[in-house]
Symmetry: C2
């Protein structure tokens, strides 16, 4: 019932956790109290074996002959993902994507507070997006000196992102959520998660064309 000690967990497993979390959240909404790995596997379209093995990386949350208690499992995965802890985030780049992210209420629910938005455009500075103030990028240093920031969300053009990322790193921010198409070249003491939308779209295009061509034959 307690957590396994220090067996390095693969990133593939980690990336599945939010999905489990979503499905469990849905089960709670449906007022389902218990679930077997078999039934969950059918809902999620993966194997029961994988679910059991994934969950066992973190400890035995289930019970033989019974399955998993939905609410308990939800809480446990939430703890693993750190939903109970809060992160302080800033958005750099008040363009369309920055705007969209600033307006996402979901992030706050998941423990991510957006405490400021930064941009180089003086016309944007001083405005407010979803109750969050827009500051000039030059005020980033003094802002970070006053208020701790865990994560910088970068929605700046690809041409600027390396410069901004260096600045952010120099200020001691340890996490970057990068929306620019450019890969960041940074040291190993900073965690970067990329969201390359164009890449994703191109993969969709490839798969779609493959499917369409395949059905012609």
């Amino acid at each position: 019932m307690r957590k396994k000690e220090e067996k390095k967990i693969s990133i593939a497993v980690i990336r599945r956790l939010p999905r489990y979390f979503r499905y469990l959240s849905d089960l709670i909404k449906l007022d389902i109290k218990r679930i077997s790995s078999k039934e969950l596997s059918q809902r999620m379209g993966i194997t029961a074996s994988q679910i059991r093995q994934d969950l066992n990386c973190f400890g035995g949350f289930g019970q033989q002959g019974y399955g998993y208690n939905v609410e308990l499992l939800y809480d446990e995965i939430g703890k693993i993902l750190g939903i109970d802890k809060r992160f302080s985030c800033i958005i750099i780049g008040a363009g369309n994507m920055g705007n969209a992210l600033a307006n996402y209420q979901n992030f706050r629910n998941r423990g991510y507070d957006i405490v400021g938005i930064f941009d180089a455009d003086p016309r944007k500075v001083g405005t407010v997006i979803n109750d969050i103030k827009v500051y000039h990028i030059d005020d980033l240093e003094s802002f970070v000196a006053k208020q701790h920031v865990d994560i910088a969300i970068l929605t700046v053009p690809g041409s600027r992102v390396n410069e901004v990322a260096s600045k952010v790193t120099a200020l001691g921010i340890k996490g970057i959520w990068n929306f620019s198409p450019t890969d960041l070249k940074l040291g190993s003491d900073i965690v970067v998660e990329n969201v390359h939308l164009s890449d994703s779209l191109m993969v969709l295009g490839y798969r779609l064309r493959e499917k369409l061509n395949g059905s012609e034959q």
Copy 2:
């Protein structure tokens, strides 16, 4: 020099292609004419072996003792990704994310034309975003009857997405780029590419916390 016949290419390889494409584009901008798998591997932070093996899934684009011709390789990967072909896309959901995507010029450069935006909110209908008209969701059927649509980009709330996805599927659209946090339950004749932003952010949070805790010890 010609393409390998019908050896099924894994999705892991496909997902790396856009990244190769980006790096080659950068090399062209730097006016670099040739590159070895070794040098590219150093730039990209992966192994040379992987690059050679990935590229060989599609054919021998390199030359022993020389390496790869940057421009040629760029063109070949472009062809594989179908950059030369065009896709007709619509955005469903004219909220913040829909707006942001409608304003991305990059998609058009990559062969993805956004030909219409749809929303249920009558206040949005009739407006124009980045020269693209916003229509009422009820006009989707007649729109699709007049104009072929390959891909639907879904930026609607999670609560609506299944309903919208069914409608889209019924109209014969074969590709979905899904931005809602909900997984879509659809038949196998439709290709779905998910962009689960919350999932990505939670993974960043996990990795960041792991790093911070790890350095404490």
